[in-house]
């Protein structure tokens, strides 16, 4: 008997909207709605889109050692944050591999919120607790069930959300947040996202999820040709892939270091000792042997996750994510290849179900928003 799937507070709403539900890491989530993945993707790039990301995990760290403790477990420098700022970072293991990628929110000098991936929440919780000692004067609280999280993204997102709050959204800079009221509901309003577009992620009480979601659809004129659309996991994936953002379990994993995944910018070796810093220091000095690159297909065919990558007739790597890119109208992907070959323009052959299809390495991100 399969374990029952976990549900977000918006589960009924997804079904009413015609969401096609799938098992996503133990969660019953919509992969797409009735508009289909291409239209959902395009609407996010051109108008506005809504995502239920309530399945993400949230962990509070409270106490005088909160910053020092999280700084010891993650690669980025938590000390550089000011109140109301968020930071992309990685939890690393002793080998410098990535336990998870996460956002670190600073609410105060003794109060941080860690937002982690849904599928890794339990693993992260166990890992963080295993590294927490009596000498760490901070408490840990798994608050994953106490939040809904709704992402509103796209060029029209700010305008729609602004109608629901007195908080001046233009005053919230990218990767910053404010606590405020949204449609009369107490919320954390964070200018972050996973689409490559401008937008916000709103955290609130799960009991208010339906109210917030429906209000955003209403104010976004859902149903009109240029209105907001709810987006499923499929569009979430193609949007993040066009923007070359990493997905845990694909570009990131326990045996992949941030340097290999192209995330050297979140590794602050000079900040002092943190988990796995020895291995990362060594990689920094000696260089990495494999590297994540972006590619586009130059012949008809679509590379998918797990396809082998050939260079000069030799198998040299693996595709970590591959898909059609609805906005760019190309077939793109990310792959690990030996560093010697990780150069723009390098020709590749991707084994797509037994056929070798030509591709070439291109700069990432594939898509960059015009500001």
């Amino acid at each position: 008997m399969a374990e029952e799937l976990k549900k977000t507070p918006l589960n009924d709403v997804h079904r009413e909207l015609g969401g096609r539900m799938v098992d996503f890491g133990g969660w019953d989530m919509p992969v797409q709605y009735t508009a289909g993945v291409i239209e959902e993707h395009m609407r996010c790039r051109t108008k506005a889109a809504l995502f239920d990301v309530s399945h993400m995990g949230e962990i509070w760290v409270d106490g005088p050692d909160a910053i020092a403790f999280v700084n010891r477990l993650t690669t980025n420098d938590v000390r550089s944050l000011v109140d109301g700022q968020a930071q992309y970072s990685a939890l690393t293991n002793d080998n410098g591999g990535v336990v998870d990628d996460l956002l670190v929110y600073r609410f105060g000098p003794e109060k941080l919120l860690l937002v982690v991936n849904a599928g890794t929440t339990d693993k992260d919780w166990d890992w963080i607790n295993s590294r927490h000692t009596d000498d760490d004067h901070c408490s840990l609280t798994n608050a994953s069930g106490e939040f809904c999280q709704i992402a509103i993204q796209g060029p029209d997102a700010t305008g729609i959300l602004q109608k629901m709050t007195d908080t001046d959204l233009s005053a919230i800079k990218y990767y910053h947040f404010k606590e405020g009221w949204v449609d009369g509901v107490e919320a954390i309003i964070s200018r972050t996202g996973y689409t490559g577009e401008d937008g916000f992620e709103v955290y609130a009480d799960p009991g208010c999820a339906e109210q917030l979601w429906n209000k955003m659809l209403e104010l976004g004129r859902y149903g009109e040709a240029d209105g907001i659309l709810p987006c499923g996991l499929a569009a979430r994936n193609t949007l993040r892939l066009e923007s070359a953002m990493s997905l845990y379990g694909h570009e990131l994993g326990d045996d992949i270091t941030p340097y290999e995944a192209g995330l050297g910018w979140i590794v602050k070796l000079q900040k002092g000792t943190f988990t796995g810093c020895g291995r990362l220091q060594k990689q920094k000095e000696e260089g990495i042997t494999r590297k994540l690159v972006g590619f586009e297909m130059t012949e008809p065919g679509i590379a998918r996750d797990g396809c082998d990558v050939y260079i000069n007739g030799q198998k040299q790597g693996t595709v970590t994510s591959g898909s059609p890119a609805p906005f760019l109208k190309k077939n793109i992907g990310l792959a690990f290849v030996p560093t010697d070959f990780a150069n723009d323009g390098q020709e590749l052959k991707i084994d797509v179900r037994g056929k070798q299809i030509a591709a070439k390495i291109v700069p990432t991100p594939f898509y960059k928003r015009q500001k």
């Binding site: 289909g36 993945v37 499929a234 008809p300 065919g301 679509i302 059609p324 609805p326």
Partner: protein
């Protein structure tokens, strides 16, 4: 519910065929296109290629997935709908019309009669739902 035209024959892999003499036009059903989601590419055989019964002759790719397409009847490919790759959405919007994929000259036209009728295919879909 899925659209299942009366005048076609159906396979368990969700292909349809339309028979005129010994020529069978082949595509995927409304149910199949709906399951796949937005189609972006169809990998087609070439005119003159020969396939046995139930051989993979190509594949349909959607944003999210890829699905092989099988010949419900053996024979030689006489025509290929290359226009589908200019407008792959026609497989979603018009699976029984402009979304057709190949025409095959059947080795044994009797194979078409052994396929499911519209009524049988509808029962098959209900049973596997």
């Amino acid at each position: 519910m899925a659209n299942i035209p009366e005048d076609l024959r159906y396979s368990k892999d969700h292909e349809w065929i339309h028979v005129e003499g010994d020529i069978a036009t082949i595509g995927i059903t409304d149910y199949a296109q709906h399951s796949l989601g937005d189609v972006v590419y169809v990998d087609m055989p070439r005119v003159g290629d020969k396939f046995g019964t139930h051989e993979a002759f190509g594949s349909v790719e959607s944003v999210k997935a890829v699905s092989e397409i099988f010949t419900p009847v053996g024979g030689e490919v006489t025509d290929v709908n290359n226009a589908v790759n200019d407008t792959p959405e026609s497989v979603n919007n018009d699976p029984y019309g402009s979304g057709w994929m190949v025409k095959v000259k059947m080795d044994n036209p009797g194979e078409a009669d052994a396929m499911m009728s519209a009524v049988e295919y509808e029962e098959y879909l209900e049973a596997s739902a």
